[in-house]
């Protein structure tokens, strides 16, 4: 079995799983309790926050732990919009965002908010110029993902951030960093990013934990009201084992970033070269995309057919993003990139991870060649 669905979720590091188990058993104290057990949990929480902040090169108090990136995205968008409603009621985002961003933006319409959804070019990109043109005096927040989860398209978030800081310093900028962190460099400190979402399980950490970077001085309306944990932004007893394990995964993701990028890029090129030799397939990922995602289509063939044939050979791949793959409509992201319905309905996403080597790519390509040949008859 070879797992090629890292963009959906990643196998946790063994050490991370061990950390969860050990901390869960030993430190069950509530960090808000005044006794020693509680104090110890609070210490672990502090340390996890420091380690996470160091990995992101930000200040510990700028880290808010959440239940995952969906929550982080919801908190960033709705929390900022509600708190800064006095500045206006306009949001800007792009048409290829993760559903947790797009749906949050749409949800704000209920309270009278307007949104500009920027179209993307054939590579799935938006430009800083598009963002500038969409700005209105009542724009409160711009949300753009760093790396698209389906195609690996890289958005110019640092350029957009700098543009916003120069052209409209009061407009807040949120970046969904889930697919980019640990693969591409990002500098939160000097790129005008105010809010940044991450998920642990995309970085070989546990599921059910994530974070939102909230630039110091910013305020958000909390989505979860209660005991005031996480600086009041996220009430609820802190999940210490997951948070500690997350900080470890985050540190490893940051530390290994360069070596990982180089290796994944090499593998991606090998895979793309191999795909180019199969005339039936068209690669949808842009050449300048993220190093771990290759998306292609088999026009005229239902994506599931190819997926299940590969599965039989022991390869786990994905049809577009995991969150949407149970629906049978064509991919929203590919349609937004101007692809035909045919291409958009037959997409397969290969996403790479640390454990892959050249021979895994070669094996996958061999299986693909076989499957394509067999499916040829059905077309």
């Amino acid at each position: 079995m070879i797992y090629f669905d890292h963009a959906a979720t990643t196998p946790p590091y063994e050490d991370v799983a061990k950390t969860v188990a050990e901390v869960m058993v030993r430190h069950y104290g509530n960090p808000s309790s005044l006794h020693r057990l509680g104090e110890e949990s609070a210490k672990l929480l502090d340390k996890a926050r420091e380690v996470s902040a160091a990995a992101l090169k930000v200040r510990p108090r700028e880290i808010v732990f959440t239940g995952g990136a969906t929550e982080s995205n919801n908190l960033a968008i709705k929390g900022a919009a509600l708190h800064y409603a006095g500045r206006g009621k306009h949001l800007i985002t792009t048409s290829t965002e993760h559903p947790s961003v797009l749906e949050s933006v749409k949800q704000m319409a209920v309270w009278g908010w307007e949104a500009t959804i920027l179209p993307v070019d054939e590579d799935g990109c938006v430009t800083a110029e598009q963002v500038r043109e969409a700005l209105r005096p009542d724009t409160v927040l711009v949300s753009v993902m760093h790396v698209n989860n389906e195609t690996g398209t890289v958005q110019p978030v640092e350029e957009i951030g700098r543009l916003l800081k120069a052209a409209a310093p009061r407009v807040l900028f949120h970046v969904d960093g889930v697919q980019g962190f640990g693969k591409l460099p990002i500098s939160l400190a000097d790129s005008g990013i105010d809010l940044y979402s991450l998920s642990a399980h995309k970085l070989r950490g546990p599921k059910g934990v994530g974070l939102l970077y909230v630039r110091e001085g910013l305020q958000l309306a909390p989505l979860l009201a209660g005991g005031g944990q996480e600086g009041g932004y996220r009430s609820g007893t802190e999940n210490i084992p997951y948070i500690v394990a997350f900080s470890k995964a985050l540190r490893l993701a940051a530390e290994g970033r360069e070596a990982r990028s180089t290796k994944l890029l090499r593998l991606r090129e090998r895979l793309t070269r191999g795909l180019a030799e199969l005339p039936e397939l068209t690669v949808n990922s842009p050449a300048q995309g993220a190093p771990h995602i290759v998306h292609f289509s088999y026009p005229g063939m239902k994506a599931e057919a190819l997926l299940h044939m590969l599965e039989e050979d022991g390869f786990f791949v994905s049809t577009r993003s995991a969150c949407s793959s149970k629906r049978s409509e064509p991919s929203r992201v590919l349609l937004a990139m101007g692809k035909s319905k045919e291409v958009a309905s037959s997409g397969i996403r290969i996403s790479l991870g640390d454990e892959h080597e050249e021979r895994d790519i070669d094996a996958l390509l061999a299986a693909l060649r076989q499957s394509v040949k067999r499916l040829q008859a059905l077309r």
Partner: protein
């Protein structure tokens, strides 16, 4: 954005200090140097009554922020340097003012100073020579030599001409420790760290005295006070902290049967201990965060009853300051968020229902006389005091023996 080349730090009261001036400047210079440690390319140039910092490519904003913590510095100006040739000065001066993007009608003036006498134009000439092309380039400016909003200073020196107009207020006060040493009674509250900062700002070296009632109070409470002192250490370089075990005395006083007086009695004992610690450590005053009327122990009558136990000057920097202003200062200094952490300390532990606001001195003295071993207990508390040195950026965690394993490095 205009790229600045240097910073000018001005000193205020120090220059009034006659023969002490050079000592004071030396201390300030040392403080500046310490704060510039993270910026190795920045260069310090000393001069009579001021310090220049050549940025040499180091970032200006964080250095200005750091320099605002240098006590004794009254103001800071970012400087643009031009070669000391007339045409260069004019060109850069015009550029300088243009980039300021001033509002139309701004009142404007040029003030030149010729430090380098061989420069061919006099100060009067220079004011005219510099302002003419500026007024041509920015006709919306209005000359007003008496009450200018924009006063462009032009200081001509051999190595270069300094252009500046912005004046950023500094911390003021006196350089660190130039006015002697005092003991600061540091609780976990909002006021005492601010009092400590005010003392530092006025040139006092401080050592902190903290009373703990371990094990009635938690280690968190003690950690909080250490963290507060660590913030002060960012201003002072390093700070000594004396941790006084107060549990026995507090228990004894609680048994006196004078519930309403217990806070007053505690404060009297604390001042006695602090006085002894001051004597041992060569300090000449006690600093407290008292603010008149704020709580029962800070009424004039309480201050009178409490202050009598010490011969040392009791310095109360905040005595006439309102709470809202103290809070604003605490936020500025960076102690507020720590101070509002909710751990009980020895002063909040046994608060009587109605503490005396007008304690009777005779009653207090009688109660104390009736406790034969009080003096002994005070001496013992002084003997058992632990002293630690706190340095900025280094977190001190005490009483760790049992907790060493809490944070296992391999988990992170």
């Amino acid at each position: 954005m205009l790229e600045y080349d240097m910073l000018l730090l001005r000193f205020g009261e120090i220059s009034l200090k006659g023969r002490n001036r050079s000592r004071f400047e030396k201390v300030a210079h040392k403080h500046v140097k310490a704060l510039l440690y993270p910026y190795p390319r920045a260069e310090i140039i000393k001069e009579y009554g001021r310090i220049y910092i050549a940025l040499n490519g180091e970032p200006m904003a964080p250095i200005i922020a750091a320099m605002k913590n240098v006590f004794g510095v009254t103001s800071i100006s970012p400087i643009k340097v031009a070669p000391s040739r007339l045409e260069d000065i004019l060109r850069i001066a015009v550029d300088f003012v243009e980039q300021m993007k001033v509002a139309p009608g701004t009142r404007f003036k040029v003030s030149s100073r010729r430090v380098w006498k061989p420069f061919p134009h006099s100060t009067q000439e220079m004011n005219k020579l510099v302002s003419t092309p500026i007024l041509n380039a920015c006709p919306e400016l209005k000359v007003d030599v008496h009450d200018p909003e924009l006063d462009l200073r032009v200081e001509i020196r051999e190595q270069g001409t300094y252009l500046f107009c912005e004046v950023i207020p500094g911390a003021g006060g006196f350089p660190l420790g130039t006015n002697g040493k005092a003991m600061l009674l540091l609780s976990g509250g909002i006021d005492s760290p601010v009092a400590g900062w005010s003392a530092l700002r006025r040139g006092l070296e401080i050592e902190c005295v903290h009373f703990h009632s371990y094990p009635f109070t938690s280690k968190k409470a003690e950690q909080k006070v250490i963290d507060l002192a660590t913030v002060l250490a960012q201003f002072a370089g390093s700070i000594k902290m004396h941790l006084v075990p107060f549990t026995e005395i507090q228990t004894k006083l609680a048994q006196s049967g004078q519930e309403n007086l217990i806070i007053t009695l505690m404060r009297r004992s604390m001042l006695r201990i602090a006085t002894k610690l001051a004597e041992r450590n060569g300090a000449l005053a006690l600093v407290t965060g008292d603010s008149l009327g704020q709580v029962a122990s800070q009424t004039l009558s309480s201050m009178n009853a409490i202050g009598r136990v010490t011969d040392l000057p009791l310095l109360r920097p905040l005595v006439m300051t309102d709470k809202v202003d103290i809070i604003a200062m605490a936020q500025q200094i960076g102690t507020y968020d720590l101070s509002i952490l909710p751990y009980e300390d020895c002063c909040t532990l046994f608060v009587p229902k109605s503490p005396a606001t007008n304690p009777n001195l005779h009653v207090l003295e009688n109660v104390e006389r009736s406790m034969e071993d009080l003096d002994q207990m005070i001496s013992k508390a002084v003997e058992d005091t632990e002293t630690i040195v706190i340095r900025p950026g280094r977190r001190i965690v005490r009483r760790e023996s049992a907790e060493d394993q809490v944070v296992q490095e391999n988990w992170f």
